[in-house]
């Protein structure tokens, strides 16, 4: 293995984590956009969780109305730039493109989308202005994609919006939890600033809402509250030895990497547990950080993995080895990790030597928050129950969206949820007026 040398500095880190989908230049965009068939009732649009009018924005790019293209995108999706980059387009819009039916490469929709959104972000030209102030206030807990989308939409409708964010940067997992070869911190933060500058919502950083009193304060001071607080830290798996030095959680590892780049400590022989997209990211990232051996171990068969096929391929191409049908039964070592013992369904046991174990086996639900809010009902999987048309929770003053209601999905799903909730809030508050 060892396809990647351990990055010693930022330049080497950038080289190892080269962008998967670099920005198109205008010539590429011109020719690529010329290929769009402008399908009736376009399948790409139907495949998009936010229903972006894709044929329209592609045509706008082609006719030199790039700013209009960006507006078309943002009208449907407030995280248009991030989604163009990090969306699993191969299974969404690009997967639905009719060209696939005749083995012609589908339109590069994600990259065209970024071509348009980067254009307005870089030009800093405002394409929105806030709605006329309506005197009402909404609090948003969490500045992830759901919270940001909700804030933008509410500002258009004239609400005053205050976001409360536990961390020191906005945009949640988009900045803390996505593989660095998909999107850079700067790119994520540029988009948030671009939106914030023209729509004017406030974000209070390092302001975790963690007590019943704080929620009651929000209830007293705001007309409605949106919960976009995502999921918690990596869940405890009850594997013996899980507390040894050298055992990390998947999301925590990615956050460390996103913030500290080449300074992140990565072992030489890494075992990654899990079969979801985070596991694939973590495995790829360990390889790109110079680990000489990365074993991705999943308890089920390959086809049962939750990860997209292309994510697994990406991990393989980084030099990761996939091992299936093996459950971890013990993490070995004294204080420090030395290896992981696995057991197959047929009873066979084996050990993989390792100095670092990363558990990408799912995040804990933020159940503790819900206990602080009266009448907030959760479903059997500890997800917040919401009305599908409005994202209103069982406590009418609260609305919710993103991972907190879907258990962990894509940025694009969160962006949709936030927008839907904003409309729900608007509808509910105006009904109350009458």
């Amino acid at each position: 293995m060892a396809e990647y040398k351990k990055p010693e500095n930022e330049a080497e880190f950038i080289e190892n984590f080269k962008q998967k989908n670099p920005l198109m230049n205008s010539t590429q965009a011109h020719y690529e956009s010329s290929r769009c068939l402008y399908c009736y009732d376009a399948p790409c649009m139907n495949a998009c969780p936010t229903s972006i009018d894709i044929p329209l924005f592609i045509k706008q790019i082609h006719t030199g109305n790039v700013e209009g293209a960006a507006k078309t995108i943002y009208d449907s999706n407030w995280l248009g730039n991030a989604c163009g980059t990090v969306c699993p387009t191969g299974v969404l819009c690009e997967g639905a493109c009719v060209y696939n039916e005749q083995d012609v490469p589908p339109l590069k929709i994600g990259r065209l989308q970024n071509f348009a959104t980067r254009n307005v972000i870089d030009s800093k030209k405002n394409i929105y202005e806030p709605g006329k102030e309506n005197g009402k206030k909404v609090a948003i807990v969490g500045s992830g994609p759901a919270g940001i989308a909700c804030a933008c939409e509410l500002r258009l409708l004239g609400y005053k919006v205050d976001i409360f964010e536990a961390k020191e940067k906005p945009s949640g997992l988009t900045v803390y939890g996505i593989a660095p070869y998909k999107i850079t911190n700067e790119e994520v933060l540029d988009e948030i600033s671009y939106l914030q500058n023209q729509l004017g919502f406030s974000i209070n950083y390092n302001s975790e809402i963690k007590s019943k009193t704080q929620f009651q304060e929000l209830e007293n001071n705001y007309d409605a509250i949106f919960l976009g607080l995502g999921l918690g830290p990596t869940a405890y798996r009850n594997i013996p030895g899980e507390d040894k030095e050298g055992v990390f959680g998947g999301v925590e590892f990615v956050e460390d990497l996103r913030m500290n780049h080449n300074k992140t400590l990565v072992g030489d022989k890494v075992v990654v547990l899990g079969g979801g997209n985070t596991a694939m990211d973590v495995a790829s990232e360990s390889a790109r950080m110079g680990a000489s051996q990365v074993s991705l171990v999943y308890r089920g068969t390959k086809d049962k993995m939750g990860a997209y096929g292309f994510e697994y391929e990406l991990a393989l191409s980084a030099g990761v080895k996939g091992i299936f049908d093996a459950s971890p039964i013990e993490i070995l070592g004294d204080e420090k990790v030395k290896g992981v013992k696995f057991k197959r369904k047929n009873g066979e046991e084996f050990i993989i030597d390792s100095d670092m174990v990363i558990k990408a086996t799912g995040q804990a639900k933020q159940k503790r928050f819900y206990d602080m809010i009266d009448r907030l009902e959760l479903d059997s999987a500890s997800k917040i129950k919401v009305d599908l048309d409005t994202n209103q929770t069982t406590n009418q003053k609260y609305f919710a969206g993103g991972d907190a209601i879907n258990g962990g999905a894509e940025v694009v799903n969160a962006a949709y949820d936030g927008k839907l909730a904003a409309k729900g809030i608007h509808k509910w508050l105006n009904k109350n007026l009458k």
């Binding site: 010329s34 068939l37 009736y40 009719v98 005749q102 599908l388 839907l420």
Partner: protein
Amino acid sequence: MADLSVDFAGIKSPNPFWLASAPPTNSGYQVMKAYDAGWGGAVWKTLGMPTINVSSRYGSVNYRDTRMAGFNNIELISDRPLEDNLREMSEVTKRFPNHATIASLMVDTREQWIDIIKRVEDAGAKGIELNFGCPHGMCERGMGSAVGQDPVALKTIVEWVMDVANIPVITKLSPNISHITDPGLAAIEANTDAISLINTVKSIVGIDLDTYAPYPVVDGKGSNGGYCGPAVKPIALHMLKDLKQHPKIKHIPISGIGGIENWRDVVEYILLGATNVQVCTAVMHYGFGIVREMEAGLVKFMDDKGYKTIYDFAGKALPNVLEWKDLNLKYKVKAKINEDKCIGCDLCYIACDDGAHQAIEIPNEGSRIPRVIDENCVGCNLCALVCPVENCITMERVDDGTQFKTWDQLTNENEIPNTWNDSRAGGKGHYVPDPLLALKEIRKDKSGERAKKAE
């Protein structure tokens, strides 16, 4: 192997590929380079009244990923000294005695015509082409298309030329006229040896959206140009057909010009009766090298069909171009969609529903494969034309081929519909019985889809 050589009104040429009188034939250097590349002839950029050219000169129509689908220019005839041109022409005709080097001419008075014809004959030109086509600049001075649009003036000048010319004379016509046969007949009456067409079409190719000036922009202003390139081929083919079907004109050799870029274009021109072709825009776009593709394609076509010379198939399409009144009203085709090939873009559905006869529907079962409603299909071809998949939608014949009836026959039999609600007219039952209800259904479908997705 096919013999491509031609004898065009007495002008011999190793093949039918000539360069049109235009920027690619502006100098001896270019013409010799073209002959080296494989061109059989070249009509020299028009010599004549002294001019001065502007900058810029060309504009283009770009369509989707295609540049120069249409092209226009406001460049005038050669602005180089006549002596330079004649010296180079003489050099070319000496070095390439078997190539068709033609002098294009545009002057004003009879004396000027007599003088310049003598000069180009001395320079060794194999023929003369009379430029009665340029629709910009020179026409404002009473030449070019000003002549092409006035059959009487055209006839007079051709007569002057025929009186003195010792080499074959080709009269080049302007398309900027209602009936191409009018100037065509005038040229015939003046005894021209051949005709070439078309010159460029009067055009404005676009407007700059910031300065509001037409392209090409000359110091913030512009002028109408002459349009050419692939976009004008259909206009040229039609005019060629009109001349080649005219009883008094059809015997005359015609050189076809307009949007020719590949061997297929060449074959189409020959099928409508042209016995050589002239090319300009394609060379301005891709250089002289494109003649290789034209030659290889033409040879293959002729070999495949068993033609020895281009005269074996020249004009073969002419009997098939009729007046509308002579078409068989009993012939019926209907669209057929190949479900295996269909990729589900549904462009055929929306084109037919919004732009034609509401004869295609999308089944409700969630499939995107459209279905033809046979009773509504009038066989218009639109769906097959918009379909992006080769041979996915075909137009299948549905009549039994035994009946033949034309409008002309019906007229003679006094059977044509002649009242507003005559049962003998077409289009019966071609309407949506309750449009408001149908539109409501479409709206309902749309909102239903959204609700489904939100789940």
